[in-house]
C-alpha cells in the first residue's frame, strides 16, 4: 500500500529514539564494550614500510612469551582465488581482502597487517608484537596517483593488467581499470560552443574518521561454532567475509551487531574479524580486538584522493552543450576505488547533450580505500561545480541561473544510462532561490558560494519481522545496523501502519541467526529498502489482525476495516460490533489462531535519486590563510522525512564532513611513504568551534516507489560542500582554489602568488 497522500499521524513527527536513553547514560554496548570470560586480547603487527617484500617472519620468541596463546600470519589463512565479492559497498575481491587483512608475500602500504598475537593482557600482546622478527626487502614505493600512472613507476601487483582497454596491455601497471561513459558527440558539442572553460583539480584522501575505532570479540568454539560481536555497517557482510576468508560454513557463524560508533562507509569492509577468529581457533579462547586510532588511520580505508580535469563548452546564453571529465582515483593498495560512481555523479545534475567521462582506478602504496559517504561523488562534483561556477563567471551569468538553466529534470537521460524520473532537483533549486540566505546581503570581504550535488541512492535486499506481543505492544526487528537513528524510523513506519502510538513499538537490530539476509547499511538504503520491508511486514500483520476480528465476529474478512489501531466492521452491512483494539486481539491471539507475526524480505528497487544545493558564506583572513564558515545552508530533496530530526542530522553531519574535507583534512606522507599525521591532533576534523549552525532545509518530493515517499538522504549532503566553499573563497578573494584541502598554507601561497 502507498501512504504518500494519507493523513499521517506518526511519520513526520519527532519522537525520542528507542535506543536513546542507553546512549545518553553510557549503557549502550559498542563492540569494544563487549567481554567474554577468559578472553584474550588480540593485536596486530603492521608494516613500517610502504612497499616491501616479506622475506621471513620468525614468531618463535613471541610464542614463547608467557601469556601469549596464539600467533598468526598469512600462513594461517587459506589461499583464496581471485573472485569478485558482492558483499560490501563498492568493488572488492575476496583474494585482495584476504591479502589486506594479513599480508601475503609483500607489504603494500605502511600499516599493512603482517602478523597477529593473542595474549592475556593488551600489554603482553604489545610486548609479543615487539618480539616478532620480520625481515623485509624494502621496495621502491609510490604514493601519488599521477606518479603511480607513469611508466616506470613501482608496480604493486605483477598480475595487474588494466581492465577496460582493448587490446589487453602487454605489461602490468598500477592502472587497475579504465571506465568510460559517453553521451552524444563530444567533438560536435565543443564545436558548437561559444565559450569553453577547462581546469584541473586535486583532492586528498580523507578518512571517514568515525570516533569509534574498529573492534570485535570473537569465539571459535571446539565444535566449530563461531560467535562474533562486532561494530559494522553490516553483520551479514562480516559473516560472508569471515566465512569466505577462513573457509567456514555460514551456518557455523553467528554475528551479533553491537552498537556502531559511526561508519560513513568505512565499516563496510572488514579488518579484524577473520583475524580474531583465527586467533581464537588457535588459542581455544575468546579473542577481543580493537584498533588504536593510529591503526585506524594507517590500516583502514580512507576514501580516494584524486586528480581531475573538467572541460565545459557553453552557448553565450549559458546552455552547456559539451562536458568532458577525466578522473584519476587512488584505490589504495588494491583495485577498487569508487571510480564508477565518480564517473556517474559529476554531470548527473545537468541536462547536457554531449558528455564524455573517462576514469582510472589506480593502485598505490596506501591503505585500501573504503567507501565514504556517496563514494566518488564528492571528488567528481568538487571539480564540476568549481568549473560550472567559473564558466558562469566567464559568461557573466549568475551561478544559480546557470544551474537552473542546465538542471536535470524528469526525462533527462543521464550519461551513465538511466533516465531521471521522479526527481526533485527543480524544487531544490526553487527552494534555494527562495531561501533568505540566497538573498541576504553579503558583508564586506565575505564571499558566497553555491554548489549542487547528486547521489543515485540504492535499494537492495532487506528483511524485517513484526511480532504482536501478548499485551498488544509490538516488536520490529530488522537486519540493518542502526547507524544514525534508523530504529526510530522503522518503529514509526510500523506504528503508522498499525495506527498506534510509536511508544507501543520497539524496534531492534537482529543478529544474523535471527532474521533473513539483509544487505549492509550503506548507499542511503535503509529507510528506503528496510523501511519497505517493515511496512510490508506490518501490513501482513494488519491482515492477520483483521482476520482474527472477522473470525471473532463471524463475518468475512473483507468486511473488516483496520483504523487507528482497531478493527471495525466495514460499514453497517457488516454488522454492529464494538471495535476490537490491538490489545484485545493480541490477548486472545493464542486462542484465535496462534501468534500474530510476519517476516518480509524484499529486494527493493526504485530508490529515487537525491539532489541537494548548498549555500555557504565565508570570511578569508589573507594574513593567516584561515577560512571561516560564516553561514551555511543545505537544501535537499529527501522524498519524505520519516523522522525529520534525524534527516536534518544526516544533512548537517554530511555538510560538516564536507567542510572538513574542504578546509583541513588530508593524509600527509613523508618521503618514506609513511603517514605523518595518524591522529586527531594533526588529522584535523572540524570541531564545534570551527562551525556555525548548519541550516538543513527539507524539500519533500515523494518517491513513489516507497510506501511513505522516502528517498535516501545520508550521502547527498557531503557532495556539494567542497565546491560551495571553493566558490565562496573565490567570491571573497577572487582566487580559485582548485586543490583540497584549502588549508591556510595553500590560501597564503595563492594570495602571495597573486601579489
Amino acid at each position: 500500500m502507498n501512504y504518500i497522500s494519507s493523513d499521517l499521524k506518526v511519520v513526520g513527527t519527532r519522537p525520542i529514539r528507542p535506543d536513546g536513553v542507553d546512549k545518553v547514560t553510557g549503557r549502550a554496548i559498542f563492540a569494544a564494550d563487549t567481554r567474554a570470560s577468559g578472553m584474550l586480547w588480540g593485536k596486530i603487527l603492521r608494516s613500517p614500510h610502504a612497499h616491501a617484500r616479506i622475506v621471513s617472519i620468525d614468531t618463535s620468541k613471541a610464542e614463547a612469551l608467557k601469556g601469549v596463546y596464539a600467533v598468526v600470519t598469512s600462513k594461517d589463512f587459506p589461499e583464496i582465488a581471485s573472485e569478485e565479492a558482492f558483499v560490501g559497498e563498492g568493488p572488492m575481491n575476496f583474494r585482495d581482502l584476504s591479502d589486506n587483512i594479513m599480508a601475503r608475500g609483500k607489504a603494500l602500504y605502511e600499516g599493512h597487517a603482517i602478523a597477529a598475537v593473542a595474549a592475556t593482557t593488551a600489554a603482553i600482546a604489545d610486548e609479543a608484537l615487539a618480539l616478532i622478527d620480520v625481515t623485509y626487502e624494502v621496495l621502491p614505493h609510490v604514493i601519488d596517483v599521477d606518479e603511480a600512472m607513469q611508466p616506470g613507476a613501482p608496480v604493486l601487483h605483477a598480475d595487474m593488467f588494466t581492465a577496460g582497454v582493448n587490446p589487453k596491455p602487454a605489461t602490468p601497471s598500477n592502472i587497475a581499470k579504465v571506465v568510460t561513459f559517453k553521451k552524444g558527440d563530444i567533438d560536435a558539442g565543443f564545436a558548437e560552443a561559444d565559450v569553453i572553460f577547462e581546469d584541473s583539480y586535486t583532492t586528498k584522501p580523507v578518512h571517514q574518521a568515525y570516533i569509534e575505532p574498529h573492534a570485535c570479540l570473537a569465539t571459535y568454539a571446539p565444535d566449530g561454532q563461531v560467535t562474533i560481536h562486532a561494530s559494522s555497517q553490516g553483520h551479514f557482510m562480516i559473516r560472508a567475509y569471515t566465512a569466505k576468508l577462513l573457509g567456514i560454513d555460514m551456518a557455523q557463524i553467528r554475528v551479533n551487531p553491537a552498537e556502531i560508533g559511526g561508519g560513513f562507509g568505512g565499516k563496510t569492509l572488514i579488518y579484524l574479524e577473520p583475524v580474531a577468529v583465527a586467533l581464537s581457533r588457535k588459542s581455544g579462547k575468546s579473542v577481543k580486538m580493537q584498533m588504536t586510532r593510529e591503526e585506524v588511520f594507517r590500516g583502514s580505508g580512507p576514501t580516494s584522493g584524486a586528480s581531475v580535469t573538467v572541460k565545459l563548452g557553453a552557448k553565450k546564453d549559458g546552455t552547456i552543450v559539451a562536458a568532458q571529465q577525466v578522473l584519476k582515483f587512488q584505490a589504495g593498495a588494491y583495485a577498487g576505488s569508487p571510480i564508477g560512481p565518480g564517473c556517474m555523479c559529476g554531470f548527473a545534475m545537468y541536462d547536457i547533450p554531449n558528455i564524455d567521462v573517462l576514469g582510472y582506478d589506480v593502485v598505490s602504496n596506501r591503505p585500501k580505500v573504503a567507501a565514504y559517504r556517496a563514494p566518488g561523488a564528492p571528488i567528481s562534483s568538487f571539480a564540476v561545480e568549481c568549473a560550472v561556477d567559473d564558466l558562469a563567471r566567464k559568461l557573466g551569468i549568475d551561478p544559480l541561473v546557470i544551474r537552473e538553466k542546465n538542471a536535470a529534470v524528469n526525462g533527462t537521460k543521464t550519461h551513465y544510462g538511466p533516465t531521471h524520473s521522479n526527481i526533485g532537483f527543480t524544487q531544490v533549486l526553487e527552494a534555494t532561490r527562495a531561501h533568505p540566505h540566497w538573498k541576504a546581503p553579503l558583508k564586506e570581504g565575505h564571499g558566497r558560494g553555491l554548489a549542487v550535488g547528486f547521489w543515485f541512492n540504492i535499494g537492495g535486499e532487506s528483511s524485517a519481522t513484526v511480532h504482536i506481543n501478548e499485551d498488544g505492544t509490538v516488536m520490529v526487528a530488522t537486519g540493518s545496523p542502526d547507524i544514525g537513528g534508523s530504529r526510530a524510523s522503522m518503529g514509526m513506519m510500523a506504528a503508522e501502519v498499525l495506527g498506534i502510538p510509536v511508544s507501543k513499538v520497539k524496534a531492534i537490530v537482529a543478529d544474523t541467526a535471527s532474521i533473513g539476509f539483509t544487505f549492509l547499511t550503506g548507499g542511503s538504503r535503509v529507510t528506503f529498502a528496510t523501511g519497505m520491508a517493515v511496512t510490508q511486514a506490518t501490513e501482513k500483520v494488519v491482515d492477520q489482525l483483521k482476520a482474527r476480528a472477522a473470525a471473532t465476529w463471524d463475518i468475512p474478512v473483507d468486511a473488516v476495516e483496520w483504523k487507528d489501531g482497531k478493527a471495525y466492521p466495514a460499514g453497517t452491512n457488516a454488522g454492529a460490533f464494538e471495535p476490537l483494539d490491538l490489545a484485545a486481539i493480541a490477548l486472545k491471539q493464542g486462542r484465535t489462531g496462534g501468534p500474530i507475526n510476519a517476516e518480509v524480505s524484499v529486494n527493493a528497487q526504485g530508490a529515487g535519486a537525491g539532489f541537494g544545493a548548498h549555500i555557504c558564506d565565508v570570511a578569508v583572513d589573507k594574513e593567516t590563510g584561515k577560512v571561516d564558515i560564516i553561514r551555511y545552508t543545505a537544501i535537499q530533496d529527501v522524498g519524505k522525512a520519516i523522522h525529520p530530526s534525524y534527516v536534518e542530522g544526516q544533512i548537517q553531519g554530511g555538510a560538516a564532513q564536507g567542510i572538513g574535507w574542504a578546509l583541513s583534512e588530508e593524509y600527509i606522507y613523508n618521503a618514506k611513504g609513511q603517514m605523518d599525521n595518524p591522529g586527531f591532533l594533526d588529522y584535523r576534523c572540524p570541531v564545534a568551534s570551527d562551525l556555525p549552525m548548519i541550516e538543513a532545509v527539507l524539500v519533500e518530493v515523494p518517491n513513489p516507489r516507497h510506501p511513505f515517499g522516502a528517498r535516501g538522504v545520508g550521502e547527498v549532503p557531503i557532495v556539494p560542500p567542497m565546491a560551495a566553499i571553493s566558490n565562496a573563497i573565490k567570491g571573497a578573494i577572487g582566487l580559485r582554489m582548485p586543490d583540497l584541502p584549502m588549508s591556510p598554507p595553500k590560501i597564503r601561497a595563492a594570495v602571495d602568488a597573486a601579489g
Partner: protein, 160 residues
Amino acid sequence: MSKSHVTTTINGEAAEFLCETQQTLLDVLRDVVGLTGAKEGCASGDCGACSVLIDGTLVCSCLVLGVEAEGKSITTIEGIAQGDHLHPIQQKFLEHAALQCGFCTPGLIVATKALLDENPNPTETEARYWLAGNLCRCTGYDKVIRAVMDAAAVMRGETV
C-alpha cells in the same frame, strides 16, 4: 609487577581498585571497574570520548593514570542521571536528536555538565569553544549545541 591499591569515590560511591601504575584511568574504568560508558576514541586526548570529571574538573581519562584517582571523586557518564531520572542535559540531547551513533555522546554530556557547572549561561560561542575538545563526526554539532543551550536554560529555571 605488583599492583597499586587505589581508594577513591566513583559516582558518589566509595570504591577501591587494583591497577598497574601505567594503566590509564580510562582503562581502569573500562577494564577493572567495569564502567564502559567512557569510550576510547583516540587514547591521546584529542577526541574527548573518554571525558570524566575529577573533583569536578573535566579531564580526558585516557590522559590520567588510574593511580591518580586516589582520594579523588570521579564522575563518569554513569553518574550523571539520578537513578532513573535523566539529567536535563541527557533529556535535551534526546529531545534535540543531538546524537546519531551515540559514541561521542557520553563524553559530550560529561563535558557539557562541566561547562554548565562553571558557566550556567554560556553564549553559543562559549559552548562551541568549551566543547571543541569533544569530536563528533555524525551531527555537525548543530543539534548538540542546541541541546546544550536548551539544557542550560532548563537548569537556570527559564524553561522546562
